[in-house]
């Protein structure tokens, strides 16, 4: 069963395409990693699905519903929820307020907040603090909580470990892995720590210059001897 489906998707910011014809599918409970060198179009692809970047061709559906005509807000309400890399919390609002405002228009905000805090219990001690005063790791956790308040079908996560310590990188990716399994959530993740992401993802796609150059099982891709050298400039 496919949740999110992209066929020959092209996207950019108005000055020419950055993503050139990507085919991709994400199933419920599946974590798919998008990896590749800087400037490959990974974040642009996520933003195109979320409605922040412009789709210039191809198809994009969630549960067979066409997302392309929808605004970013409507796509979030439809279940395609984007977690940006930075500036991803409302700094002047408390954590509780950040969560509440992320379930706009819902009548069961308190219940959703309880669900999210039970999924991410590390947030509990700082629920009444302003998000702007939190550490990088705490902020990323709040950003994830905010995304979950919308009860997403598919979560589009852009570099959730940027700026985090190595210990927190693993923790964050483990939380995402567990969420995918526990909530039958599809996760499409762009991650700079490619090896850490591949260790947790079910499948992976390697994007170079806006095109998928390799895809398959994350575990198999991670074992390829030329993987690091070809795509990340790592020493062989």
């Amino acid at each position: 069963m496919t949740l999110l489906c992209l066929q020959n998707l092209r996207a950019g910011y108005g000055g020419g395409d950055i993503v050139h014809g990507v085919d991709l599918a994400v199933a419920p409970g599946e974590m798919v990693a998008l990896v590749g060198p800087n400037g490959a179009g990974k974040s642009t692809l996520l933003k195109a699905i979320a409605g922040v970047a412009k789709v210039t061709g191809g198809t994009l559906t969630l549960d067979e519903r066409n997302l392309i005509p929808l605004t970013p807000a409507a796509r979030a309400q439809a279940g395609a929820v984007f977690m940006p890399q930075d500036r991803n919390v409302f700094r002047t609002l408390t954590v509780t307020e950040n969560l509440s405002v992320s379930a706009w228009g819902c009548r069961d905000i308190a219940q959703r907040r309880a669900e999210v805090t039970s999924l991410l219990p590390t947030m509990r001690p700082y629920m009444h603090k302003r998000a702007g005063g939190l550490s990088g790791g705490q902020r990323q956790m709040v950003a994830l909580g905010m995304a979950l308040m919308a009860r997403p079908r598919v979560l589009l996560v852009d570099e959730p470990t940027a700026g985090l310590s190595p210990l927190l990188v693993g923790e964050m990716l483990d939380v995402l892995r567990e969420l995918a399994a526990a909530a039958a959530l599809g996760i499409l993740i762009v991650e700079q720590n490619a090896r850490a992401a591949l260790e947790r993802a079910d499948r992976a796609l390697v994007l170079v210059d806006g095109r998928v150059v390799r895809s398959g099982s994350a575990a198999v891709l991670a074992q390829e001897p030329d993987f690091g050298a070809l795509f990340f400039g790592e020493a062989a």
Partner: protein, 285 residues
């Protein structure tokens, strides 16, 4: 003590408009210098409903809030929205031009004569030997209630939280599913209603003067800057500071210098504490 009551009365007039000014600033990141023009619109709208049309003053005040909300929403739609994305300086200059347009429309429609509300004559109220006009008590009470109501709206209601979220980061609000244009429109309407309330209170405590524009705009902007741009509570506190400064100036120097107080306070705040009393420091990018 009398001076303190006078200061509170001045603060009561300034506070709603200062809160409105800071609300627009936080939402759209520009200083709307047409604030004085909108307060004048509110004063004349309330006067029109009260004196020529014979409605009670409370109805005139409510009507003025509606008229001002419409005027601010119209100016946002016609003047400011097409310029979204331009620098704060550009929008500030546009707002100054708009204030002159509003001032001249008011003069064209109502002439150059000072007006007054049609209010029954009442005796003063006496508190601990102090004689306070009933109108002043009403002005202070209504302003306080309105300011607290806006504070409660922003803190405790979903639309208030959404307003603060959009003011904080509109692009994030968009991907979080908030109806950003609708929330912004709501903020504009609330700001307009507050300008209308200030206009009505000016007319009750002072006079309805077609030349009110800059006489009220400078202290309103000073109050918002003193409090810290972006903080509605700070704007209300700033209004009290400006009210006190104006009354102290009148008492110790001359009432003639009251008009300069706003400029002096703005200069002092920018020199000593640019972020204002309750504002937060931001780094220039």
């Amino acid at each position: 003590m009398q001076m303190f009551i006078n200061a509170l009365a001045t603060a009561a007039i300034l506070a709603p408009a200062a809160v409105a000014f800071t609300l627009i600033f936080t939402l759209f990141r520009y200083a709307n210098f047409a604030a004085g023009g909108f307060v004048t619109v509110g004063a004349f709208a309330a006067w029109t409903l009260n004196a020529p049309l014979g409605l009670p003053l409370w109805a005139g005040g409510v009507g003025a809030m509606g008229v001002c909300a419409g005027a601010v929403a119209l100016s946002d739609r016609v003047v400011f929205r097409p310029l979204r994305g331009r620098s704060g300086g550009t929008l500030l200059l546009v707002s100054i031009a708009l204030s002159f347009v509003i001032e001249n429309i008011i003069r064209f429609c109502f002439g150059a004569q000072v007006k007054g509300f049609d209010l029954p004559l009442t005796g003063p109220m006496v508190f601990a030997g102090l004689r306070v006009p009933k109108e002043t008590v009403w002005v202070i009470s209504i302003s306080l209630i309105a300011t607290l109501a806006v504070g409660a709206l922003l803190t405790f209601t979903p639309i208030g939280r959404a307003l603060r979220a959009v003011a904080d980061n509109a692009s994030l609000a968009n991907v979080r599913g908030l109806p950003v244009p609708g929330v912004e429109a709501f903020g504009v309407i609330v700001a307009g209603a507050l300008f209308g309330l200030s206009g009505t209170l000016v007319g009750v405590d002072l006079a309805i003067d077609p030349n009110l524009n800059w006489a009220i705009a400078i202290p309103v902007i000073a109050a918002a800057i003193v409090g810290g741009l972006g903080s509605p509570l700070g704007a209300a506190i700033g209004a009290v500071v400006i009210g006190l400064a104006e009354e102290l100036t009148a008492a110790h120097f001359s009432p003639t210098y009251k008009g300069a107080v706003g400029f002096v306070v703005i200069a002092l705040v920018l020199l000593l504490r640019p972020q204002g009393l309750l504002g937060t420091k931001v780094e220039r990018k």
